[in-house]
Symmetry: D2
Subunit: 350 residues, 4 copies
């Protein structure tokens, strides 16, 4: 079988580096164009030095026509807003050619264009594409992903939150507001040096940021939760989401507090999760008595989910862990590509 | 003025090491006996090597009579329950002699003896002493600390939680259950090697433990909060408290979620905190717009407190940071000693 | 093709965990018996929790007969000396059956039995097997590895040192003593809790150990270097080797100081290295101007080697980096298995 | 006694932050002007947030006249070369007024002006001041420091190297070239975000830099060593110095390899060190059998020195540890100030 031709736009990012790593060991894919305006002319492994020996590809300047002509799958990683219009242009041209786009930015994740004004301070001119775009949280949306033309790859925090919450929201186990206390490794802040990603800031430290309902992943989480909420019309669920930076490079842990709406045992909750994720090979549900920790998922595409009831306050505490760059970005993007192309879901990811 | 004679029982612990460090640079105190059954005969700096050059004292075996005879202040650091009865014996003898006891264990922190059965699985035979013991959260209890015979030095998590919450509970700003998401450095797990404090377990990791209302600090936090709760009789406040171990040695951050009972601005809340802690030199209240982080308090006796309202869910998010071994144990113990002896509150601690 | 049957003895170790991970994704191998006396009855992923979702195998008690009967390849990981005689017994039985043994301990690495008395304080009763055993430093010994019956997998420090030094020793570029300053992640100290692997000891720290020519890897390095030293008879090369523990889990960096015996340019040295490793896919030689760093090899089977001349002292500084558990143990063991079984050298390792 | 008036120029640096901390708790000193062009108008604790509650001083723009008029001691922290001429101007004006200057930059450390061309690429126009400047390695130069007008505070690596080497060089224990393998915490790279001080670069990593005799501290180390070398005229000692960045914020460890010129026991070497540093309260010489580690000196002004002979190669391995920002910069600067002003050497530093 001919290999799928892969192009990557914005290929200097950390997420892109991991996509490159996964494609390099993928049995059914090969590189078409690896584009980065800032690194064009360099070898990929000169910039992302951990790829030396693994990949032997050169960064090119992005060119619309060559990318469209030569690619079956186009990954786009960009800061939200920056590439929004160009992505729309690519999607249209790709569709004609039979190619598909996987966008790792936030640009096409929200269904309601007005949310972009509010949360991203961006005026979104492509409402039609927002409707067509498929939200790529693999385990929750696999049947739509298969035929996506434009796949909006989820944010890291929402991936962890939604996988942790979907089963219990669907079962109406919780009422009212949900608290999500999240910690992420510093890779979430990118590799370009800034005041918030120096070692002097990050090491031996934990610091909160975007506290008070201002992190735009809040909107993505609420959109996703209410898709599973049977009462979303009359009683939409809101979340109080507080992210922090933790002193490691990779990983997210979310400790989620949901007041229980009914009496239920831990073993019954376990059964709900197991059933919900019966066919999800990248979801580990931990038996009652065990709880996830960051280190067990780092370097993998797995999400580990565990939980415990606090009977004194009738609160269900769900804890989810992912690697923010893999399941939270590049790994899930390749997982989605695998489904879109008919490969084994795990190809390149183990 | 003659220097106060200080003895320390259980002096191999991390908390004891910091007490030793603070006493070594204290202008009004000197060592009587530094007791450790496991390290007797060794120099302190042979075991706690970071004290080499700072202190030149030898560990002795603990002997009741010499400690009672030679000491003005007796610090006790022990696992809860282990030293409970002997502490009672020491307190009585010390009282006759005019000496005072500062107990860093949990043995005399709770007022209700039945709570020891429930939370510590210990049958507490000294209810009378529980009544007499003064809970040593310095900023909340300074007037009682002055004349304490037995001072029960607070736990690390409760110190951070209570300092963060007392002002808003007193003002009845919150209703219902409070969520406390806490992360502590690994020093909280002691220095004896165990499955939960190896570098392979702790580095690049965060893991929850004692989840679901089973950590005994929950009781200490609730006792302390309700002492400030004007409606504690009819509406006692409960907490959902989830501790985690974070990948650093020292420091605690608690992200606290309290639903607001009334409309209030951030500047009004700031004023409440500032007024409450107007005379507290080790409390830093951060202005609206700033939030605390672990690194700024490590190595100090300060607590840094900041907050933010999430207007979407009407939730007040308070964030408190302390050094778990200093303000959370040894530093606060010496701060209390300073008050009990009439020294400047900060002597030895800057 | 039928899959090779793999057994692992001592499978609770960190090295074994990584062998298990690599075998789990190996296209030509499957598990026969995964043996651990301490963990028998548990699932592998209950002990090595990072393998959950990756492998679904149970620990068994080691049984000589079933291992011999059911295995094509037997990996042994053990503390030196502990399993020495049993390994000899296994090798003999395996030979008759056509199976092969890969020993990750130090028990069969040194050719001269008397060195075991000196460096390991062990009286080695199997000199014959020491002769037959093939030293498994893949890139330096691939032609012998192919037909090994007993493969002695190298130590972590020697792997890095010998790969870094072999080309320049062979070319007689250096005279006299060589200084090897080595730092290893704490995984080298195992996962069983001990005074030297707690987070309180390791975090924010570097500490030397076994200084002064007492680390037994010194003997392994000298044996290996002199195998490449054309003048080993009249002028054997000695090394001053000082290991330290560094504050991370995985990785080794060795900074090696060799006085230059002749005038030579950096580009000439580069050519020597490139030629020497022309066919070695897991060796990255860095061009003059670039130097290796630990992070780029962690999680991989690569060794990265770079160098620089200090013209003021005429000293060649060679820097080598590996992942101590992968190229320094489990990865190289599987790489050797691949060669012994005729698989692609990199199978399971990318 | 009236307090000494302290001004600090370049007060946004990490070193300056620690000087500020030490002065804040100094019984005999107070702030005159704390100058930073980049932070002028901000409170010190707004920029160096760990100083909140400890110091209540505002950054000012640097003004020559007010600094000269109001100060007894002027600390200058700057990148080498940047402030060189202005420092000369300050020194002259200060001398007339009876004030003194402590320069933490490299600008006045080397005696030979031509070395500035070679190592710093700076044409040094103040040879006269180079002669007058007193090199402030406290323990090696206390008698000159007392009357210094311009004190050149040593570099971090040279401080550790020279304290570790001076006794054995003076005793002619070593011949020929000395290898210094050094690792420093990332604070040595400053707090301004750059490609070499991000958490993504530093965490879980060690990387060498300025390898091959190009780090200018090489010159400072050689100047210092040969001041103790009885044969410096005919046999000056050279060093091969390789610095690396280690994954922590504070601390330096130098593992030093010196070939022994004579037979000598470890206890005899111990006696040499003990005698040499008999009156040095910030030097800990570790008894044979013990070796220093980074964590024991972090946060202190101590240097810990230990050693071991490798009898196989007749190499003396000396290991020295300091806190790079304290004994390696700010602490030593205040220690020197204490000597220059007649205070207790340790005032403000314990």
């Amino acid at each position: 079988m001919e290999k799928k031709k892969i192009s990557i736009i914005g290929a200097a990012s950390i997420s892109a580096a991991f996509i490159i790593k996964f494609i390099a060991r993928h049995s059914g894919a090969e590189f078409a164009h690896v584009c980065s305006s800032s690194q064009a002319g360099k070898m990929v492994h000169e910039y992302h030095t951990f790829l030396k020996g693994i990949v032997d590809v050169e960064y090119e300047k992005y060119d619309f026509d060559t990318v469209i002509n030569d690619s079956d799958i186009i990954f786009i990683t960009a800061q939200h807003g920056v590439h929004l219009d160009e992505t729309a242009r690519i999607v249209k041209a790709a569709k004609e050619k039979g190619a598909k786009v996987i966008d790792l930015s936030a640009d096409y994740r929200l269904k309601d264009a007005s949310l972009y004004d509010k949360w991203y301070n961006v005026s979104h001119g492509h409402s039609d594409l927002l409707v067509d775009a498929v939200y790529g949280l693999t385990e929750l949306n696999a049947h739509n992903i298969k035929d996506a033309q434009l796949l909006a790859n989820p944010g890291c925090y929402p991936t962890c939150a939604l996988l942790s919450l979907a089963p219990i929201v669907q079962e109406e186990l919780t009422d009212g507001n949900i608290v999500i206390n999240a910690l992420s490794g510093v890779s979430g802040a990118g590799i370009r040096p800034s005041a918030t990603n120096t070692a002097m800031k990050v090491c031996d430290n934990i610091f909160p940021y975007k506290v008070g309902g201002v992190h735009p992943h809040t909107a993505e989480i609420e959109q996703g939760i209410n898709a599973y909420n049977p009462c979303s019309a009359e009683a939409p669920i809101g979340v109080t989401f507080v992210p922090h930076v933790a002193p490691f490079k990779y990983g997210i842990i979310e400790t989620i507090y949901a007041h229980l709406a009914k009496d239920i045992s831990e073993s019954a909750i376990y059964d709900i999760y197991k059933k919900f994720y019966a066919n999800s090979r990248f979801v580990n549900i931990l038996e009652p008595g065990y709880l996830p920790e960051v280190k067990d998922v780092v370097g993998t595409n797995f999400v580990n989910i565990g939980f415990k009831i606090d009977p004194r306050t009738n609160t269900l505490i769900v804890i989810g862990c992912i690697d923010n760059v893999i399941k939270g970005a590049a790994g899930q993007a390749v997982q989605n590509m695998n489904i879109m192309c008919g490969f084994d879901e795990a190809e390149g990811l183990l």
